[in-house]
Amino acid sequence: MSENFNHAQIIKDPDDNYKILGTRPVRHDGVDKVTGRAIYGNDVQLQGLVEGAILRSPEAHARILSIDTSEAEAHPGVLAVTTSADFPDLGDKIANLGEGPVNLAHLAANCLAKDKVLYKGHAVAAVAAQNAHIAREALDLIKVEYEPLPIVTDVLEAMKDGAPLLHEGLLTNLVPGGEKAEAPSNISDHHHFKRGDTEAAFEAAHIVVEREFTTQTVHQGYIEPHVATAHWNQDGQLTVWASTQGSFSAREQTSEVLQIPISKVKVIPCEIGGGFGGKIPIYLEPVAAVLSRKCGRPVKIQMTRDGVFEGTGPTPASFMRIKLGVDEAGKMTAGEAWLAYDTGAFPGGVIGPGVMCVFSCYDIEHAHIDGYDVCVNKPWTKAYRAPGSTHVAYAVESVVDELAEKLEMDPIDLRLLNAAREGTKRVDGPVYPRIGLIETLEAAKNHDHYKSPLEGPNRGRGVAAGFWFNIGLKSAATAHVNADGTVTLLEGSTDIGGTRTSISMQLAETLGIAAEDINPKVADTDSVGYTDITGGSRVTFATGLAAVEVGKDIISQMKERAAKLWECEAADVEFSDGIFSQGDNSISFKELCAKLSRTGGLITARASVDPQGFTNGFGVHICDLEVDVETGKVQILRYTALQDAGKAIHPSYVEGQLQGGSVQGIGWALNEEYLFDEKGHMLNPTMLDYRMPTALDVPMIDTVIIEVPNPSHPFGVRGVGETPIVPPPGAIANAVKSATGIRMTELPMSPPRVHSAITEDGNGAS
């Protein structure tokens, strides 16, 4: 059966002899998802449920002078109307919400604007009504008086003296957590790293390449709009059904915005229709909660698609200047980066990872990095798959390609010569543990794709590398052993791409049973221990580790039961391959399960972990494409994604991450961008005009998994999910260069941009 599916090449660790890991069981939630029975956020149906809608600002920057909701409240069928006046005053409180600090006033003001709107589409008020049609009708009856203010949407413009200020009191953090600039500006943070003597190193370099790059705002593009349902009971208990990447995070954020104890909030995670970082922040939960408190009914709000584009957090536009110097042999000796990312309406964007990722693939002795986070009148930017890393990889990988050309060196050889490896010190300080960039570059060089000649006019090949940190964070799991030999596993990681199964497989491997004998459930915040978000490529690593710990606890408890049966010491019972044994006695896991209730009752085990040993992921992509020089349109012909993935627990889902990330990166590279008019209005907030790739736009995406195990995980798991979006824009830009001779320094490389570059260059047809 599986031969039809053409699986990836896997370069295995020779010591690997797992029974369950590396197989491809059907996911536990699979049948529900192919029959339409799985319950996603918008599928929640409750007695008395009413529907909400959000009023959004038509202005990109304005003071709110007044809001009159009386007419809306009087509209037949309307049950409640709310504005930020119903939120508690949060002052300037910073809360540490598990994944990092959040300014609560900003979080709340993004859910419902307080005294200013900072972007077109900023939520201003909300209505609950008998149905969504009535709720939307009522939005038209809310009268908001705005005093328009000058706007700024371009990151460099926003940094200039005299630019319109979004936050009058914003002083740049010159040192994270410390010193601030004296005069207010739109720059919320300035990061700075320096190593060695960059000036002298550039002076001594054989070749120096310096280029400027720009990228535009792009959205995660999940197909399911944000949706939340809240029911505020008369006893003060708030229940939220959420489509979120982290139910505990959603609980914390909601309780902080509403200033109610977390014990009063239960978040029930629904199936989630994609997130990619965009469903970590909350938007609707506190709004639905307040509406529910006001009308006494459960309230569901689903965003409209334009609401998703205009009112949630895309990832930033950027300006980047990159300079790299090499010696005669091609060794990189000096690097300089100056980066400005727009953070959108509120401070706190993704420049942090940007400055740390910029030179992360290479060993560069002398380097100097500056990065700025800049507020502009656009939606508050948020994480999108390897946040901040794709931007810099596009820029740096383009410059590396140019260096290879000038050195007349194979672009993979140049990368191999300079690649980061175990012991390499990143410019921001940390030293790499065991990583697999070298192995991945070598696999790329030896791949049939790279070795096959590419023929035909206007065709080109490009390669690029990419990096992501991956994270650990906290995960918990509880397991109940059943008399029939199966195990019910409760865990708290919302499953976006098959993680129920990748976690269950690790428990199954530990217990020596089949993956199908584990029955995983994603539990609500009252039913499982604290678990951080599904994000950062952490779930298979950290929640998987919790499952392994649970498995060890089960084995140790079952050894005691076996010892009872055999009247021996538990310490003398051995466990291997699903069999408990002592001397001549032996019993299988399943058989022992049947005896549990008679030896002291069925077993429950639990584990809570906070692993520190997560480690990085590196990818190398190869892209062949053809440019229609008459129109500037780019067609991807062949694409291969290779990645150092640690142990691939369920290889199909690892391949899926590589393929999905690659295609998101292809979309970003070629056509995706927010287009704004001079008033700061997004022109293309639809899935028609925000052009994500369709099935017809991409070829099959070939994958190679290189299993360089993570020494800090019992099964060698590394994170996988984020790295694959990082290399594509660089690989495509390099392929466009090879096809046309033109180096594209702007994303997206959309047909008009490519055509105009070709025309200006004078090489192409007019």
């Binding site: 699979g30 029959t35 197909i223 999905g660």
Partner: protein, 160 residues
């Protein structure tokens, strides 16, 4: 609220009657009134295909059909693809080939793919990609979806 209109239709082989307002979409009615929540709302604008159902055998975006237009029609949703005992080969192949990650687009893809294979049992890769281009997926990069449709086409041929 508007006056309700009575509509008689057939959904997944069963005669069904419902009341709706003229402005209500077929998607709203099948999800909220008939509680067949397999069809999903992704864009409510005809651009993503997550709400695809068959209307008289032809795939349509149910967000762009008024529920009143279903009078006398034969409708099929993702809930009808499997029979009582077995998944459809497409569903099996989507699962075995890991052709879904978050799964929100899956019902729409399955309905479109079923219509494709019903009318065209051995499509080329290009034809699959073309006919499924009205269905957006953001997770898979389409590779495994296309392969699952190819595998299902093979499997259905074997069954015959």
């Amino acid at each position: 609220m508007g006056k309700k209109i009575h509509v008689s239709t057939t959904i997944n082989g069963e005669a069904v009657e419902f009341l709706c307002e003229a402005r209500q979409s077929l998607l709203e009615i099948i999800r909220d009134t008939l509680t067949l929540t397999g069809a999903k709302e992704g864009c409510n604008n005809g651009n993503c295909g997550a709400c695809t159902v068959l209307m008289n055998g032809v795939p349509v975006d149910s967000c762009l059909v008024l529920a009143v237009e279903a009078e006398g029609a034969e409708l099929e949703t993702v809930e009808s693809i499997a029979n009582e005992e077995h998944l459809h080969p497409l569903q099996e192949c989507f699962l075995e080939g890991a052709a879904l990650q978050c799964g929100i687009c899956t019902p729409g893809f399955l309905v479109s793919a079923k219509a494709l294979l019903d009318g065209h049992p051995e499509p080329t890769e290009e034809e699959i990609r073309f006919e499924l281009s009205g269905n957006l997926c953001r997770c898979t990069g389409y590779d495994k979806i296309v392969r699952a449709v190819q595998a299902a086409s093979e499997r259905m041929k074997e069954v015959k």
